[in-house]
Amino acid sequence: MSRFDQIERYLQGRMPAEELRAFESELATDTELAALVRQHRLERYGMELLVERDLLAKMQAWDRETELFQQVQPRRAVLRPMTWVLRAAAVLALAAFGYWLLRDTSATSTEPPSSIVRTKPEIKPRVPTVRKRQQPIPQREDVPAEAPLEDVAQQTPEEPAPAPIEEMADGEDLDYAALADEFFRERDFVAPTSSKSGATGYDQALKNFQDGKYNEVISKTIPDGGANAVEQKELLALAQYKSRRYADAATTFRGIMAAGQQPYAQRAEWGLVLALLQELPTRKGEFYRALTDILRDPEHMFYSKAKRLEERL
């Protein structure tokens, strides 16, 4: 039996008791074997992530099944509490309208008529006239100087340009920033501990980030194309996001997505959605495109969150 199989059986707990005792006594004295066992154990930790990812995808599928199940259930239970709330709101609205009507008519009937005061008309400054060629202005010979000129009557009053009609976008009353804040969680992106990769620059930047010194992270983090360039970019994007520089954050997230390195690319896709959400209702088209890209992939690590966000919108 190969050493590989033996170590695997040891770590899986499949060794018979006698073999187990012999193996453990060898392990206690053989440093090479101990290193090999540690290597195997680390790899098994890594492979466990595959099981974890698979189970996460299954949970998302179960959530979707549950949603479909709820959709086919009769909606009475959902509508019933809403119905009487709507009725009460309608009654209140009618009562308010009626009060407004009554108040308006009674006010005009009870107020005493204002007395008419005759005053000398105020001479207003002369306003330039617009002369129409088709209609020559008749000349008046005995018009007193202080009397208002009849030209004034022929003026085309300047009407203010009509205000542009603003279309009420759907969900304009939603607080998009609050919604984005609700969905944003640092630990979706940044490991809570330092990378311990020997990159002291990154570790210092991470410390600054965790201490809330986002401007320092932004000014001092320049991804250098090295081994942890994507990590640095991610930290930069997050610092920009936390500093409310959402347009910059969106650009940086796009850069991470373009690099295509996982899991950073998927995290960046989610970061982009949140950055664009902060900027709604502007950039609406971009936001929905980014959200749809995640929703197209049920195995995306942020699929369930994207789904929940879609429901909230």
Partner: protein
């Protein structure tokens, strides 16, 4: 140095050192008509998870959709400084941890499965808060069991990105194969599921994928630095 108990698996699927859990009867809310939980006792769920395959998936699904369990976790997280989003994430992570602990024989059966699940959720929330540097008001009494040794937990956290990078490069087929291997499927089962000719071919492929994974890890300087620290 052992990160999990060394349990020999018995023929009946339970580990040698496990106490066979006392019968806890039916699960709470077992009369939920939309799930027909009445056949799924704690013993059946544990056996299903440890059996693997479709039995494991069905058992985990039953636990995941168990009425009241999610609400209990949500309430605990909300009461201890978390949001609904946090609660949802903790709930899912707890199922992952439950599955792992069951497969590794760490569940001793001293409590009902739902109680154990909630204990895992509490432990997980404490861990998360500690990692965020906000562990100030939650005492160890707020969680009922240590789900994983601090050492193992630290390793999983620190190496996570490195593992993800390497796994992202080994290819979809190797990922599927290693996942089935990690879940202790036999080579005969893997050969059938992955459509290999026989168990020997499956074993060779599993070894090849494993060596590819190892090579990617060892070629990453961050991995060597982390291992030596």
């Amino acid at each position: 140095m052992a990160f999990w108990g060394k349990n020999t698996r018995r023929a009946d699927g339970f580990f040698q050192n496990d106490k066979k859990p006392a019968s806890t009867g039916y699960l709470p809310l077992a009369n939920c008509t939309n799930m027909a939980n009445t056949d799924w006792t704690d013993e059946a769920l544990i056996a299903g998870i440890q059996a693997g395959g479709s039995a494991r998936e069905e058992a985990l699904k039953r636990i995941y959709l168990l009425p009241g369990l999610r609400e209990t976790v949500i309430r605990h997280i909300l009461e201890h400084g978390g949001s609904r989003q946090d609660a949802q994430d903790i709930f899912q992570e707890s199922l992952i941890l439950l599955d792992r602990n069951m497969r590794e024989g760490r569940f001793e059966g001293r409590s009902a499965l739902s109680t154990y699940f909630v204990a895992i959720a509490k432990w997980r929330w404490v861990t998360v808060r500690r990692q965020q540097g906000r562990y100030t008001d939650i005492a160890p009494a707020h969680y009922d069991a240590e789900v994983e040794s601090p050492e193992a937990e630290a390793i999983r956290t620190e190496y996570r990105q490195l593992f993800q990078e390497a796994l992202g490069q080994i290819g979809e087929r190797c990922r599927d194969l290693l996942r089935l291997y990690q879940m202790d499927h036999s080579m005969e089962e893997i050969a059938r599921m992955m459509q290999y000719g026989n168990a020997d071919v499956a074993k060779k492929e599993a070894y090849r994928c494993r060596m590819r994974f190892r090579e990617l890890l060892e070629n990453n300087p961050a991995f060597a630095a982390l291992r030596e620290s």
